[in-house]
Symmetry: C2
Subunit: 196 residues, 2 copies
DNA sequence: ATTATTTCTAAACGTTCGTTTAGTTATTTT
DNA sequence: AAAATAACTAAACGAACGTTTAGAAATAAT
């Protein structure tokens, strides 16, 4: 599963669960961003030694990639629900509400890790992570398009415009998740969908 | 003007213009963000020695604060135009277009420095900069409210909702300024204002 | 012309960063 | 039980960070 973890001839057992410590790392990255999160902080939060981090994940960058995977797994429940929905626009709105609920869990107001990462790396030279984030958003846009096509007479051009609009609206939602109240966020979502 | 620059008994003249080098620093911060921009990069971009930076601006943090002031001066033209406008909602839309134009100057697609800074510092402990950004956005929200009240029968609650919606829409616009085409940005702005 | 003061260059400062390594401990294999 | 091997702890690594300092160069005042 994890690229740097051994599987055969295990002389001594790992005293930690890799999935569990990745989730802890993910929460720290989510809260602080990539650069601000130091290996020292990760050591403390994950409860394991630096050596263990490096032998399991290669380096900080590798750990971050695993953290992103972990985040995707975390949101996959919402995403699957969204993918399987069949009501059209109403599904997108519900997806927005579900996303906010997920980001409010634990009352930490950390926004969306994908959006945060996208913002942090947008002027960075790390192509791999940028492409990961862009791919995630492109997939989301495709899903928006798919749902917008349900029960509608709108032409293709309008649908593409609306999908792009909704994708950008999600940036606003991520910002809102960090500062606004639940009520304000609700108002924002409702207003976003008035003209869709 | 600048807190660390001397004014009296100047034995040797400064070989640089402080306003000019701050603008260069601002452009670098704008492009890369605060943390990613190192003193080395600033030295090179500003064309002066580290010592000169420290004697003029105290430290990196001080230089960033001056850069933010410089940015505000830069956008003050747009902001003043917006403040003096009297047509209502149409003025806000024009302000959105003007903001995009300003951010596209130089074709660097750096987004909005205030929004970028707000994103970078949102989970940071730097209260001063956070408050500066929040204050800037609060002022903007107040202006939105003021313009929304022109030629309207809408009640106070609706206006507050719409102002908050527009403020969050500006986050989407900042994200769009970095990746979307001019046409896509136009579509986004038009769609944002359909239901206002 | 000399002195005082400021700016300049360039090197070094202490810290922290991500990363690596040496040596101990624990478990499996022989 | 002995040997082999993997995971552990803890210290150290070089590089980069923001910041400071020592000394040379330049200008003002005397």
């Amino acid at each position: 599963m994890f690229p740097f973890s051994r599987k055969v001839n295990m002389a001594r057992k790992k005293q930690y669960n890799e999935d569990l410590v990745v989730e802890k790392a993910m929460n720290l990255f989510w809260k602080n961003g990539y650069e601000t999160t130091s290996m020292q902080m990760l050591e403390k939060e994950m409860g394991i030694n630096k050596f263990s981090i490096y032998s399991s994940f290669g380096n900080k960058h590798g750990l971050f990639l695993e953290s992103l995977k972990c985040y995707k797994t975390k949101v996959s429940v919402i995403l699957e629900k969204f993918k399987n929905a069949t009501n059209g626009v109403e599904d997108i709105k519900q997806f927005f509400y579900d996303s906010v609920d997920a980001n409010y869990k634990g009352h930490d107001q950390k926004g969306c890790l994908v959006t945060n990462t996208y913002n942090e790396f947008s002027e960075n030279e790390d192509q791999l992570i940028k492409e990961e984030m862009i791919s995630f958003m492109d997939n989301l846009k495709e899903l928006f398009i798919e749902k917008l096509k349900i029960n509608t007479t709108k032409d293709e051009t309008t649908i593409l415009k609306q999908a792009n609009y909704l994708l950008l609206a999600k940036h606003g939602l991520a910002a809102a998740s960090r500062v606004n109240t639940t009520k304000e966020i609700e108002d924002y979502i409702e207003m976003t969908f008035v003209n869709i």
